[in-house]
């Protein structure tokens, strides 16, 4: 499977990364090299092998359904790019 320049542009858009034409060209060359490296995987027969998603074979812990975090809005918003009246400000979404 070879990667096209349009694939690169689509992926950049999906990943919310603005890319100029020139940046897309460079990324295309480098990602193609990396996928060349990854291609080695495709030849391996993995029939019947269970995928390993985690290093330890343990199940998710459950905890009691109770509040563990207090309200720290002011502290958290003190490092936000833009806030007003306790709200995070972003460009208008709904006309």
């Amino acid at each position: 499977m070879s990667l096209t320049i349009n694939d690169v542009k689509k992926v950049a858009r999906l990943a919310r990364l603005a890319a100029t034409e020139q940046e897309a060209q460079i990324a295309h060359a480098q990602l193609s090299g990396i996928f060349g490296l990854i291609a080695e995987m495709q030849a391996v027969d993995t029939t019947g092998i269970e995928p390993m998603s985690h290093a330890q074979d343990v199940t998710q812990r459950l905890r009691e359904d109770k509040v563990t975090e207090g309200d720290q809005r002011e502290l958290f918003q003190s490092i936000a790019p833009q806030v007003e009246a306790g709200l995070y400000l972003v460009p208008q979404v709904i006309e």
Binding site: A15, I34, V44, R61
Partner: protein, 486 residues
């Protein structure tokens, strides 16, 4: 004082022969003098460090000092520390002052250790040379024209140059062990789940693990005693009984069976590294160990598998950086989507963007089975190789890195060449096993060589024993870079 072990430092502090304030000030002075050359620290905050040192002195005065009370420790800038700027080596977090402490940070705070500063690192821990840091590359204290390794390169350089008593690191594909090897220090990546990931900025969550970096195995044991432990805030933190990782340090190595994976000594290993590692193995035989030839047949696949899984997890983890709640926001944008795209394009560096794009691609519709699922299946084959190998041996040894430290800029434009430098470390993360690197002499150009020690799950105390016995018999670990003023 600069060459004292943590145990010795603890004793002199508790005996009040030196105060924590004096010790902390001594390191701060060294950092002020030497950091401009090495760039090992991104942030120092002398006021905050000295305030912690004064508190430690008060505790010590009451005779309530613990093993690390009053000892200045450098923290990799991936750990959130309340009130400290925490950048993760990225422009994205250049102004991020953490509102809370990572578990690792609170463990050190609770024991009275001093946070000496935040060390430089590859951006979001993605790199093997520290050159991807937004704050500039770290220089290797043994030769400042060379890289310190990465991603925990600032911590490794700081330990080697005696700019801290010890440091922390994180290891997703070798980021503790490889810089430890390249800077001639000792570093340990514990079994996945032993140290809490809470407050440690996530790269690839199923692989990320924090660990100590120091000048000896004995120091690592003391540090791990503080760092390890169950934390309910990390859903993958393991509920294990607390253990003393120093308990087995003095055991003799008679009868130890060392497995040498054939694949780790094949083509690609530079001869100087091979020679030094061979000499170290010979030393182990003198200490009573025997050698077993083993095979990890799927280990060659660890790089392709890693460069699917780690970017996939990273693309998901790094989606949180959107310029809304914290971190960098582009100065100009037209609408919300444009704000996201520009903030991320300007806030992330080239390597991080590459990995986000790889991850996004392998997880996208139509490619998931061919890449992500296939990689997870091979991950199991790689882990099973180790299970088979540990039926024949007690511990596995080999080189940490195929070469000694390379020159700054040498692998700059070719990500694939950079990725290949982690060939011996990545499989350990994929399997979730503990691994460490200890100094084992010098290679070409008098640059340090690291010996990698891989144990089975939860074998940290045994590995530390194996490393400590070697360090009693040799003095590689106590060598210091000649060009760094002591």
């Amino acid at each position: 004082m600069l060459n004292s072990s943590l145990r010795q430092l603890g004793s002199v502090l508790r005996a009040k022969k030196i105060s924590s304030v004096e010790l902390t000030q001594m390191y701060l002075d060294r950092i002020a003098t030497l950091n401009s050359e090495l760039n090992a620290y991104i942030t120092v905050n002398p006021e905050a460090s000295l305030a912690q040192a004064r508190e430690a002195d008060a505790v010590l005065a009451q005779g309530k000092g613990q093993a690390l009370t009053g000892i200045p420790i450098a923290q990799k800038d991936i750990f959130c520390a309340k009130g400290w700027r925490t950048t993760c080596g990225s422009k994205m977090l250049h102004n991020f002052v953490s509102p809370y402490d990572a578990h690792v940070i609170s463990q050190f705070n609770n024991t009275g250790a001093v946070n000496l500063g935040k060390t430089n690192m590859d951006e979001f821990a993605m790199g093997s040379s520290n050159e991807t840091s937004h704050y500039g590359a770290v220089k290797n204290p043994w030769d400042t024209a060379r890289v310190p390794g990465g991603s925990s390169g600032g911590s490794a350089a700081a330990v080697a140059a005696r700019l801290c008593a010890a440091a922390t690191g994180t290891d997703t594909g070798g980021s503790i062990r490889q810089p430890a090897a390249l800077c001639g220090i000792s570093g340990l990546k514990p079994t996945y789940g032993v140290v809490s990931r809470y407050g440690m900025i996530a790269f690839a969550s199923s692989l990320d693990q924090a660990g100590p970096m120091a000048r000896s195995a004995e120091d690592l044991a003391l540090l791990l005693n503080t760092m390890a432990g169950f934390d309910e805030r990390d859903s993958t933190s393991l509920q294990c009984e607390p253990e003393d990782y120093a308990r087995d340090l003095d055991k003799p190595l008679n009868g130890l069976r060392i497995g040498l994976p054939r694949e780790f000594f094949a083509e690609g290993l530079s001869s100087d590294v091979g020679l030094a590692v061979g000499t170290a193995i010979a030393e182990y035989k003198k200490l009573g160990a025997s050698v077993v030839d083993i095979s990890l047949p799927n280990s060659r696949l660890s790089i392709p598998v890693y460069y699917v899984l780690a970017p996939a997890e990273a693309s998901s983890n790094l989606s949180r950086f959107d310029g809304v709640r914290y971190g960098y926001r582009a100065p100009e944008y037209t609408d919300l989507a444009d704000m996201y795209e520009k903030s991320r394009a300007q806030g992330f560096g080239a390597e991080v963007k590459r990995r986000i794009m790889i991850g996004t691609y392998v997880l996208s519709h139509g490619y998931y089975d061919a890449y992500y699922l296939q990689a997870q299946k091979i991950r199991r084959l790689i882990a099973q190789d180790f299970v088979e190998a540990f039926k024949q041996c007690d511990i596995i040894m080999g080189p940490t890195s195929p070469t000694t430290a390379f020159n700054l800029g040498e692998k700059g434009d070719d990500p694939v060449q950079m990725y290949l430098s982690d060939i011996y470390t990545i499989a350990v993360n994929l399997a979730g096993l503990p691994g460490m690197s200890i100094p084992a002499g010098f290679g070409a150009n008098n640059m340090p060589v690291g010996l990698q020690i891989i144990g089975t799950y939860f074998a940290e105390a045994q590995m530390l024993n194996v490393a400590h016995q070697y360090q009693l018999a040799t003095d590689w670990h106590s060598r210091a870079p000649q060009n760094i003023k002591l």
